[in-house]
Structure formats: structure tokens, C-alpha cells
């Protein structure tokens, strides 16, 4: 007999990243209910965004990026789905191709060459300059997470001082709606 005990080993343990769209009643505490589910059961949240999408029906859309084995992802979806204020849970990763975008604000502080280099990079990445002083810029970039991370990386040596990111908003491609 082997000496291994709990937990189960009969499941596929490969960890994958999934993007979930969750339609919820916009009522007090709903976000905390969802965040509490993740912390209480030991699941990861990599990104979470929430905003009301249909004001007259008090409906919000939450986009969660999480990672786990197939079993864990199924559990996460089932646990989300059984929350009373949750209407629907869709796994965009399983649905096929989806669009994922986030927005970042990046502040660069400095003078001289660094400053000019930062501006050139911003142009190359298609970022907008939304604030400028003699010693600083604030850029806005919208794009896939990879683009934003690349931009952050190259901007680092040019005096990048502050980053604010929204987290991911996502949607399936094609005519299908949630």
C-alpha cells in the first residue's frame, strides 16, 4: 500500500487560466459574496472587474480571471452558480475565442532623454498621452493583458513611477450573447 492520503489524485492536475463572465443582481454584498467564496475555498483570483451593465434591471457583470485544474475550475463555476444572486456563469475560455481587454494608466516621471524615449514608446504602442507636465506624463493604454505587460516592461527603464490597471473585461466573439 502506498502511503499517500488525501487529497485525490484521480483528477487531471494541469493548471490552466480561465476567464469567467458572471451575471449577477447588483445588490449590496454581491461582490463580497463572490470574493469570500474564492478566499473561503482557497481559489485564486488573478483579476476581477465588476460594473453595472443594465441599470434598470440592477444587473452587473463580473469578469473573473482565475486558474486551477479542470476539477477546480468546475467547482468554482458550480459554487458561483449556486449563489442566490448569480444569474449565469459562462466560461469564456471553454466557449472558444473571446476578446479580453484591459486599460492601464501609467505615470512616467523624469527629464531629458528618458522623457523623450517614453513618449516614443507610447506612440509605438498606441498609448494616448492624457496628462503632461514638464517632468511627467500619464499614458493610457487599452489592450490585451500581454500588450499592457510588455508596455510596462519597456517603460520601466524610462522612469515608470506608477501603474493603475482596471483588470480584464471580456466577451465572446461572434453573434452569440450571454
Amino acid at each position: 500500500m502506498s502511503v499517500s492520503h488525501y487529497p485525490a489524485v484521480s483528477f487531471d492536475q494541469t493548471v490552466r487560466r480561465h476567464t469567467l463572465s458572471v451575471i449577477v443582481d447588483n445588490e449590496p454584498g454581491v461582490l463580497s459574496r463572490i470574493a469570500g467564496l474564492f478566499s473561503g475555498r482557497g481559489y485564486n483570483i488573478e483579476s476581477l472587474t465588476v460594473s453595472e451593465t443594465e441599470a434598470e434591471k440592477h444587473i452587473s457583470r463580473i469578469t473573473i480571471v482565475t486558474s486551477g485544474s479542470e476539477k477546480i475550475i468546475d467547482q468554482i463555476k458550480n459554487h458561483l452558480d449556486r449563489l442566490v444572486p448569480v444569474h449565469r456563469v459562462v466560461d469564456l475560455t471553454l466557449q472558444g475565442e473571446s476578446i479580453e481587454r484591459e486599460l492601464a494608466l501609467l505615470k512616467v516621471v523624469g527629464k531629458g532623454d528618458h522623457r523623450m524615449e517614453a513618449l516614443r514608446l507610447a506612440t509605438a504602442f498606441g498609448a494616448r498621452t492624457i496628462d503632461a507636465t514638464v517632468t511627467s506624463f500619464v499614458f493610457e493604454l487599452t489592450g490585451a493583458t500581454d500588450d499592457i505587460e510588455r508596455f510596462i516592461k519597456v517603460l520601466g527603464p524610462c522612469g515608470l513611477a506608477e501603474v493603475s490597471r482596471t483588470g480584464i473585461a471580456a466577451m465572446a466573439r461572434g453573434s452569440e450573447v450571454m
Partner: protein, 586 residues
């Protein structure tokens, strides 16, 4: 039909419209308006408990024994925090409750006011759902919605936190509607194609077993009747979890007894050796599976559960069926009758032969004594002497609970109330009070331990106040027996803080609470003493002095598989049966 009334009046009116006859509670500053409204009517009877924790357990006992929603009313702050254990207990065991908590007035919320706490924050993870009512316009809907959410889908506790100003505010009341929540619609009908696949798998089984749980009880007496029909139709053996006892009659030939950590040899080995497992309303809890990577290695599994998140949580199954047990069982019985499949009779015969061989081990056998009462014997005598009566049993948590599950046999559902998932000591007495209120004529017995009973002993006053003749049968071994047993098995017999020192004289304690006390330590006098308890028309505390260091066997030691049980005739060293890895488990 709409009427103007205050929020407090709405609460009482909604309880009436939801057919709530009994309400368990304790008053305080933030619920005074509701208590005032209760005072001015006599449909809803308020049962005053002695601590809010008792109120929740009483409501659980009431709900579990009657199939109705249990209702609790407590004040803000400590009233709400005292209710937390009971709410968690109800969540783990899927008991439908509505718990109304008072809250400081809306304008004081967040100011650290007197007796303020973040009730919805604290109870978010220990309720199925909860509400903070901020507008009087929402109150009638939320009240009715709470009952709907508590009792539909997988049942559970729901908290409604009502600030005091909302209780005074006036608004328009509305009556309950069907489908009270705008979107919450749990699946009750199982997917027919999956049910068909399940029937097909069952019909080809060579070594099948039914493994049933509390979900069958929660689906109502009809589900138990259907389970019996299906088990008889198929001729398969049937075992059950702690929570499911009574759904299938213990006197039936196809009954294997309870399974799991303290289950019978035949039930656990049937689970280990089966080729088709039919799980109806159970959740592959760790008390059931034991070592999970060695759990029932050769079987294909069917799992019927109303909660999709219970499926594939601990054990991967081949045929998951999401739905209410009663609905799915009905389809299964109908399909089985329609198809009347040819089962593999020789294979089933040899399977039963194997099971009968396991039964021959008599795993619940124990060494009885003439000089000292063995706890197993005490429960056996209690069972024999109450047979044929209208009996309900509650328990506390520990060895006595397992002995009750092993030696007290249940023929009907809703007769057995115990804290399974959370394992809450102190559950039994308040639960018995709730059961007795729901069944005033019945014999209600709390099988207790001397340590557990002291956790909510104050509820004796409640029993006295409402003249509830509950019987408390204490298996007194002067130890927190299960803690002691684990210390023997895991920690070299160093009984750290598990000896029940400075116990009260339970006979005098009974008398102090205006009830009757009995003590018995002589096996020869046990039957007469039990009869005296049964025939006493008021509450009784029975101090049954039993063997001190009896272990609760059979047992699957933690970290071991079903086929590695230790039995009553175990002769090895109990201190070495659990290895280092197993010790980390609970």
C-alpha cells in the same frame, strides 16, 4: 391585497402567512418592536430559549423532524454572533432556517453603536443567503423570499437583518407569491438521458450498492418511500450516511447499516468492493470515504444531488445527475418498472453471499458486562424498550452519537436529528426541545454525553417553561470520549484536558431545573430505570454511568481505506494503528 403596517407588524404577519406556528428566540434592544408585535397576536407562538445558540438548534430540530422551515428571532450584536454556530451547523447539514436578527437603526450602522455588529458580513459564509433590509418597501418581499430560498434547492439557513428604524417604519405589506425569487430556480428534475444511463449501468451491475444520505430525508417522506421501492425492485444492498438514517428501514433484509468511519464492516466492505455505486443525496464526505485515493477503487459511480457543486468535489463520478432526490427516484422507479431489466442474478447472489459473510463478522458485537454498564448495551436497551413507540432521537456529538447511530435503529425518516457536518456539541438538548414542540405527544430522547450536555444545559429552563417532557439520556463515562479515544490512538494515551472533572450531580441538577433525575450504574437495574424515564410525564435527566474507556468501534482510522477497518475484537496496539500522515487529518 395590500395593507399599511409597521415593519415589525410585517414580520409577524409574514410569519403567519408562511404558516409559522413556533418561533425560537431571545429578545433584546434591537428587536423590541417585533416582540411588541408578537405580544399583540396569538397565532405565532414564541419560544423563549436561554441562549441564542439554543434557539437555532431548536429550530433545526423542529425543521428536521417536521419538514417545515425553522424560524429564529434574535437581537443585534451578541444575539446574532451567538447564532453563528447554529447557522453554520444548518448550512453543513442542509437544514432550512430563517433567522431574523435585529440591527441598530440605519443611521447608526457603521458607527460602532451599542450591540452593533456586521451581521451580514459575519454570516455571509455561514448562510445560504442573507439580507440587510435598508428600505421598508423591500421588507415584505425579502421576508417571503427568505422562506423560498431556505426551502428550495439545497435547503439552508437564511438571515434577514432588520434595522430598528425599519421595524418602526410604515409601509405596504404584500402576501407571498409562488416562485418568490425573481431568478433563483434550482434544478429539481434530473436529466432523463442520464437517468436512463444510470438504470442501464445498474441493470448490468454484478456487485451494486446504494449509498444514500441526508438528501433523501430533505426531499421529503415521499423520497424515502421511493427509495424503498427502488431498493426492493432491484434487490441491491443499501447503506446510508449518518444524516440519511431512517430513509431506508433498519429492519429490512437489504439494509447494511451505516457506513463510514464508524460504520459496519459489511457496509464499508460493500462500498470498497462494489462495481456500481448508486449515491442518492450524499456528498462523499471525508467521514464516509476515508482515504480517498483508495476509495471504492473498482466501481463506476452514479451521483444524484440537487447541488451541482457537490458533484465531482471529492470523488469523480461517471454519471452525475443534478436534481431533487424524490424527482430522480421517481423517474428511476418508473424506468426500472418499464424496462424491467434482466439483472445478473447469479452475480447478485454471489455478491449477497459475500455480504452475508462480512455480516458474519458481527462488527457491532461487543463484550458485555454484568458489573458495569457498557455504553453500547445502554443504547441497545434504550432502543428495545422504546420500540413501537412514537420516538424521536437527537444526539450531541462524540462517542455517544456514534453508538446511538450504530445501536438505535430507525425505520422512518425525520426521526433522527444529529449534527453531522459541523459536529456541534450542545446540539442535542435544544434540538430535542424543537422536536418536542413539533411533536407534542411523541417520546423525544436526547442521547448525550456528560461533556456535550453541559454545553447547552441552560435549555433545561426552556423545557421546564413550556412543559416539554424531553428525555436526556447521558452516557456518562467522565471523559470527552471521542477526544480521549483519539488521544489513545494518536497521542500515546496522554489524556490532555479530556477528563470531565468537577461534573455536577446530574440528579440534583435535574431537580434544580424542576425535572426528574435518575442515576443508574448497575446493568441489572438498567431496564427498570429506562422504563421509569419513559413513563415520567415530564423532562428527565438520566445519568447512565458507563464503562469509562470503551472505544467506539468499528473504526476506519484516519488516512486509511474502507478495507483497513479496526473492529471490536482488535487485539493489536491501538497506539500504532494510525501513521504520521494520518495523524494530520481530522
Amino acid at each position: 391585497m395590500s395593507e399599511m403596517m409597521t415593519g415589525a407588524e410585517m414580520v409577524v404577519r409574514a410569519l403567519r402567512d408562511q404558516n409559522v406556528e413556533h418561533l425560537f428566540g431571545y429578545p433584546g434592544g434591537a428587536v423590541l418592536p417585533i416582540y411588541d408585535a408578537l405580544f399583540q397576536q396569538d397565532f405565532v407562538k414564541h419560544i423563549l430559549v436561554r441562549q441564542e445558540g439554543g434557539a437555532v438548534h431548536s429550530a433545526e430540530g423542529y425543521a428536521r423532524s417536521s419538514g417545515k422551515v425553522g424560524v429564529v428571532l434574535v437581537t443585534s450584536g451578541p444575539g446574532a454572533t451567538n447564532a453563528v454556530t447554529g447557522l453554520t451547523d444548518a448550512l453543513m447539514d442542509s437544514i432550512p432556517l430563517v433567522c431574523i436578527t435585529g440591527q441598530v437603526p440605519t443611521h447608526l450602522i457603521g458607527s460602532d453603536a451599542f450591540q452593533e455588529c456586521d451581521t451580514v458580513g459575519i454570516t455571509r459564509s455561514c448562510t445560504k443567503h442573507n439580507y440587510l433590509v435598508k428600505r421598508i418597501e423591500d421588507l415584505p418581499r425579502i421576508l417571503h423570499e427568505a422562506f423560498y430560498v431556505a426551502s428550495n434547492g439545497r435547503p439552508g439557513p437564511v438571515v434577514i437583518d432588520i434595522p430598528k428604524d425599519i421595524q418602526f417604519a410604515k409601509g405596504v405589506y404584500s402576501r407571498p407569491k409562488d416562485n418568490q425569487h425573481k431568478t433563483y430556480r434550482p434544478t429539481v428534475k434530473g436529466d432523463l438521458s442520464k437517468i436512463k444511463a444510470a438504470i442501464d449501468l445498474m441493470s448490468k451491475a454484478k456487485r451494486p450498492v446504494f449509498y444514500t444520505g441526508g438528501g433523501v430525508i430533505n426531499a421529503g417522506p415521499h423520497a424515502s418511500a421511493l427509495l424503498r421501492e427502488l431498493v426492493h425492485l432491484t434487490g441491491f444492498p443499501c447503506t446510508s450516511t449518518l444524516m440519511g438514517l431512517g430513509a431506508f428501514p433498519a429492519a429490512d433484509k437489504q439494509w447494511l447499516g451505516m457506513l463510514g468511519m464508524h460504520g459496519t464492516y459489511e457496509a464499508n466492505l460493500a462500498m470498497h468492493g462494489c462495481d456500481v455505486m448508486i449515491n442518492i443525496g450524499a456528498r462523499f464526505d471525508d467521514r464516509i470515504t476515508g482515504r480517498i485515493d483508495a476509495f471504492s477503487p473498482g466501481s463506476r459511480k452514479i451521483h444524484v444531488d440537487i447541488d451541482p457543486s457537490s458533484i465531482n468535489k471529492n470523488v469523480k463520478v461517471e454519471i452525475p445527475i443534478v436534481g431533487d432526490c424524490a424527482h430522480v427516484l421517481e423517474d428511476m422507479v418508473r424506468l426500472w418498472r418499464e424496462l424491467s431489466p434482466q439483472v445478473d442474478k447469479p452475480a447478485l447472489k454471489s455478491w449477497w453471499g459475500q455480504i452475508n459473510e462480512w455480516r458474519g463478522r458481527n462488527s457491532l458485537g461487543f463484550q458485555n458486562s454484568d458489573t458495569i454498564i457498557k455504553p453500547q448495551h445502554a443504547v441497545q436497551r434504550l432502543y428495545e424498550l422504546t420500540k413501537g413507540r412514537d420516538t424521536y432521537v437527537t444526539t450531541e456529538v462524540g462517542q455517544h452519537q456514534m453508538w446511538a447511530a450504530q445501536y438505535f435503529h430507525f425505520e422512518e425518516p425525520n426521526r433522527w436529528m444529529t449534527s453531522g457536518g459541523l459536529g456541534t456539541m450542545g446540539y442535542g438538548l435544544p434540538a430535542a426541545i424543537g422536536v418536542q414542540l413539533a411533536h407534542p405527544k411523541a417520546l423525544v430522547i436526547d442521547i448525550a454525553g456528560e461533556a456535550s450536555i453541559l454545553m447547552n444545559i441552560q435549555e433545561m429552563s426552556t423545557a421546564l417553561q413550556y412543559r416539554l417532557p424531553v428525555k436526556i439520556f447521558i452516557l456518562n463515562n467522565e471523559y470527552m470520549g471521542m477526544v480521549r479515544q483519539w488521544q489513545e490512538l494518536l497521542h500515546g494515551g496522554r489524556y490532555s484536558s479530556s477528563y470531565s472533572e468537577a461534573l455536577p450531580d446530574f440528579v440534583k441538577l435535574a431537580e434544580a431545573y424542576g425535572s426528574h433525575g435518575i442515576r443508574c450504574s448497575d446493568p441489572a437495574k438498567l431496564d427498570d430505570a429506562i422504563m421509569e424515564m419513559i413513563e415520567t410525564p415530564r423532562a428527565v435527566i438520566f445519568d447512565c454511568v458507563v464503562a469509562k474507556e470503551e472505544n467506539c468501534f468499528p473504526m476506519i482510522p484516519s488516512g486509511k481505506a474502507h478495507n483497513e477497518m479496526i473492529l471490536n475484537d482488535f487485539t493489536g496496539d491501538t497506539k500504532t494503528v494510525i501513521d504520521a500522515k494520518g495523524r494530520e487529518l481530522v
